[in-house]
Subunit: 383 residues, 4 copies
């Protein structure tokens, strides 16, 4: 594995640079017979697209997905689905001044160290723009999961010091703690509540405070980090594999592969360090559901039938206009102020990227998981 | 990938159950010419072995590694190295009573859901005993890394509420903050300081408090969680791949594949959510070293030449003797008290497992990374 | 992939050298619930074992397979099955004289070129003895295929100039051309007819002539090549993948991975070069079966429901006692006469190796193939 | 692996159907720093392109390769290279009549069996047109190999009964047997001699006879099969891996993955069945070269420094206008005459496809092979 492919049965291979002609992804191993049109990509791509609000870069990309193969008469054929997104608004001129500078927090230095040189325009392959390909692939996976009644929802849980309180949000903005009974570590906000907030924070109060916080940072030419939580409902028990193929290991891999992620936790996450076995263990009940969900829906790497709950911490956008100390590729110290079109916070746009990566993992493991039991295989081939 | 193999060039495949005849691992893709004897495994295996202190299970396993292939006249031959560890102290009788019970916090239920039945003796394949194979493989990787001047050190940073303070520990137990200058997120304790503590906490004060804390828990038949930090020195800049092959993504995969891990963070980790770009970005200096190391040694998924710093949160041992509510495989509710030989805390024994997994990732990526530049490949083949 | 693993879902990893302590294989991804005991391996291992007749090396190995993991209470658990075969009759002394000589037709020179040195005892990893591990893995695959009604039969079609005539052989040694109607390229001899011949040639006449031919060669210290044909019945249509995952591509890979194979052909094979579309194309009939089987049961890389027919050409055993010119690892020219225990012809023992490799491919592709159609996946998960 | 990806380090993923919008390939793992422009693809694409002579389909495709990513300022960047070839001359109307008919010798039936339905236009994914993507990828691999002094040459050895005689061809059409001294199984014709013949047969006499033969077949609405031989010079000894990663196994996989291939042989190939050890074994000489090359340049799966010689047998084009018996997808028997634009023989256009597949294997194994020896790895990282 070189880095641009992911998955074993449902395998995606992304390609493309921030300022190249196009980006795209080849989705191989998608089952035949799933309805798929170019229209299916619009909503997800729009959620990732720049230029949505004042909190995201104004770069104007339509991010239109073109299907070049693998779909015939509106259905997937089982052969590779090639998806292409043309870059229409790249402005290479913006970047020429950083061709020989290593921007702090970026991959400029490490790409040079690895490859000897780099496509410096907008971060090249290391640009967040690469995630457009993942979202396109995630849409295909999402269509697959939908057929099995599985739904993935991510939202912004925290930006800087502003955090959504746990609970279930109703449309009128009130919050109840129903979810507490079941899931100490998460809750499932509706897509509607999430999209109501320009920051994708379903807690209206937290969202408002975060808007203020960001406005202040933008004046200072600075940026903020945040946390995204993702909840998956409808995953049957028994998905995932022991040892290195654990569902949590693959989800961890998936989320850490998103550029700015510096931490990932599942279920009770880091708080388990301070817990005891008697408080962390989720009791099984005869209703077939655990009384708590500290496990985050995964035990021994295999889904336990409960909601899967996972969180990722994103670092602040490294491109800031505040002066920073750094060096050139000749080792000379200089001060830079990164100009151009940058997001003061990345998490609102990353919500759909997190969902996409989670979808890729689940789709793949559901397909791999079909071969776990001889009896079921026999029944499959007898039909 | 089914779950029991890891790595692309340096590929390990582990096998074995807690109470089977043996456990083991096949290491394929190890370069030829590395000195390796059965003695090389002793120190690492001893660090993971049960029965070391009163804080670990007394199960008496020698965990002797036998080399069955891939080594000739004391050197690796480049062909698969088969390592076997015989189980000598399994007592299946201990486990018969849980054959039809789903223990909270364990994989009993999920294995049944996936496979239709399970080897219930001591957790079977989902037992922590499986990590013995990983440690054996990690020793081989460690020998490889040693030849390149790379050293991996993990230690227990936290048990329950007892946390090592950041700093550099000297033999006399004093702590200075030298490390602060370079690494806000970690420090490098000596192996000597770590091994001095029965809990592998190099901060003598934290270690003493944790011992008290655990003694109290053991009386109650309860268990504790904790955090392990791992620091790798000597990794050259340029190791790792973009996108899905990011070094952090592979490290995340590796650590989340350890049974009890519920959270992983790199560098500044979850604290980045509350930071700003201006404080999180590590300035590059002309000395070739970053002024801070919030990146944890990885930028854009590729090593930046700095120490790699990674942490994992481990849940409390789920096997506790306190009564717990659960169900049988027939769905009947019952109360169980898990008997047998269990660790009140798993982190001290997991330290070497974390090191091993990190070693596996780095070895693989160093080998894969040789093919990044045409010029260097040409030079390689001209020699 | 480094070379010692094969398969994507049903993945085997072999290890071991000719004169090491043991050989073995880890079978990962085998479905749970298949009955498997150590006794199941005996018949297949016996067919590959040395010392069966005067035409094979007298090295006395019992080739007893020990199951170390992955089987519980007589059934596979879905976790890795570790199989070990102890070497009991290695005589390293026999080989010391060739430590510094490159035997013609062997891998001595190429292993040194690749790895810098080699385990020279009996060919080390390049020894045909490595195939014992494959046969053990093939037994597991065979048990899987048996559950689906699929049977694999290989036999020796040709040794030197002595060739079985096409047809169907009855117990009394007569031959009819019934098979001609269906399969111009092959026929299905019974296991009984095959095992009757010490050379595994079901045509008694050809077998007798081949015995004479070999006796003569043995007097001269020389060896013979041959051809093995393998027929698989019961494979449903639709197994295999387009492009690089073609069933024929994987079968070709599998058979060429057997040491002495220099040619592989499927169905009409090399004779297609001289045929025309009108004679090579197999007409489809309304009975659901093709009128001929030049395709060898595979069209476009996917099984067509007909018998799969594949052949492999094996070179003569390179170890001969006739004097040969060669060089030492210092480049000095010398003449050698290879002594020790060698087979004058390898094909009789390779029959079961061919079957095993074919079984591995089919098992893997049957498992991978479960994810081809959304409707069937949905039905699978709804049950 | 689902079928559309190939290689482990140098990994290609092809996509596209005969009558879709486009075809293409993602080349991941290509080293950085190789000069590459769209012009580099022209010559190879032209050799595969339809419409070259009267012996190939007149479908008018320009087969222009567009580079969408992975190249910056004329050099590869080490990130995925996305190559796209637009379909410009597809005429879907031509194919509507075969939407419900299973053409003999084609994959229509097997695709339906696997996927439940198919893109029937021109064979969809199973069309020979898919090989355009492979040739594009092969060009990138060829540029890599060129830097290491490795050259791959394929030519048509046989069409129907017309076969090139072994030897070395000079421009004036005479043939000498110089090559016999070194390579009993092959010879290296110049690209010039090959391209002089419209059938890519460097033996002018054989080429002329084959032209006559084909003209006659075309009148009858029939087609011919053939054999392509491929010779690779300059491969250093030591490339390839033992067991399943054998160079011959991977080459066999690669060539059998080309649609019409029914047989593959290496070096002396199928003739080894009739040879003896004393005649088949290639003697090593002190000059560092073997006296013969029955091995075809590979011993024990690893290159021996000699020319690699491999042959593939291609079946006759299954699309013929002669009436053929077959069935519809409802099982009704009918007679069809396949109309449209088809090649009477496929081998002349397949020559460059064979070269491409061989290049892909060699490039991948040269990269994988860098990690074989600890000393060389150490030297690599010390530089």
């Amino acid at each position: 594995m070189n880095g641009s492919s992911f998955g074993s049965i449902f395998q995606v291979s992304t390609w493309g640079e921030s300022h190249g002609k196009a980006l795209g992804v080849v989705v191989d191993g998608c089952p035949a017979g799933i309805n798929l049109t170019e229209k299916d990509f619009e909503s997800a791509m729009a959620r990732r697209r720049p230029g949505q609000t004042k909190y995201v870069t104004p770069r104007a990309e339509q991010d239109q997905v073109e299907i070049l193969s693998g779909v015939f008469e509106g259905r997937t054929t089982g052969t590779p689905i090639s998806l292409v997104i043309r870059n229409t608004s790249q402005k290479s001129g913006d970047y020429s001044e950083i061709a020989h500078i290593y921007r702090p927090g970026h991959a400029d230095y490490t790409f040079d160290a690895k490859y000897g040189f780099r496509d410096y325009r907008g971060g090249g392959r290391s640009s967040g723009r690469e995630t457009a390909s993942r979202v396109a692939a995630g849409v295909v996976a999402g269509k697959f999961l939908e057929e099995l009644g599985i739904a993935t929802t991510a939202y912004v849980k925290q930006i800087g010091p502003c955090e959504c309180v746990n609970g279930v949000y109703s449309k009128d903005g009130t919050v109840s703690d129903e979810a507490e009974e079941k899931t100490r570590t998460g809750f499932v906000p509706s897509r509607e509540m999430i999209e109501k907030s320009p920051l994708r924070m379903p807690d209206p109060d937290a969202s408002a405070r975060a808007e203020e916080y960001l406005s202040e940072l933008m004046k200072q030419g600075d940026s903020a980090g945040g946390i995204i939580e993702c909840i998956v409902t409808g995953v049957p028990a028994g998905v995932g594999d022991p040892v290195f193929g654990k569902l949590d290991a693959l989800l961890g891999h998936a989320l850490f592969s998103i550029g700015a992620v510096k931490g990932v936790e599942i279920g009770a996450g880091f708080s388990v360090a301070g817990m005891n076995g008697s408080t962390d263990n989720d009791a099984f009940s005869s209703s077939g559901i655990k009384l708590t969900n500290n496990s985050g829906g995964i035990l021994g790497g295999i889904s336990d039938g409960d909601d899967i709950v996972i969180r990722a911490a994103f670092k602040p956008t490294p491109s800031i206009s505040k002066p920073q100390q750094t060096v050139t590729d000749k080792g000379e110290e200089i001060t830079i102020e990164v100009r151009g079109r940058h997001d003061p916070v990345i998490v609102p746009r990353a919500v759909v990227v997190v969902e996409s990566m989670v979808n890729l993992v689940l789709t793949d493991r559901l397909l791999v998981g079909m071969s776990a039991q001889m009896d079921r295989i026999k029944a499959f081939y007898k039909n």
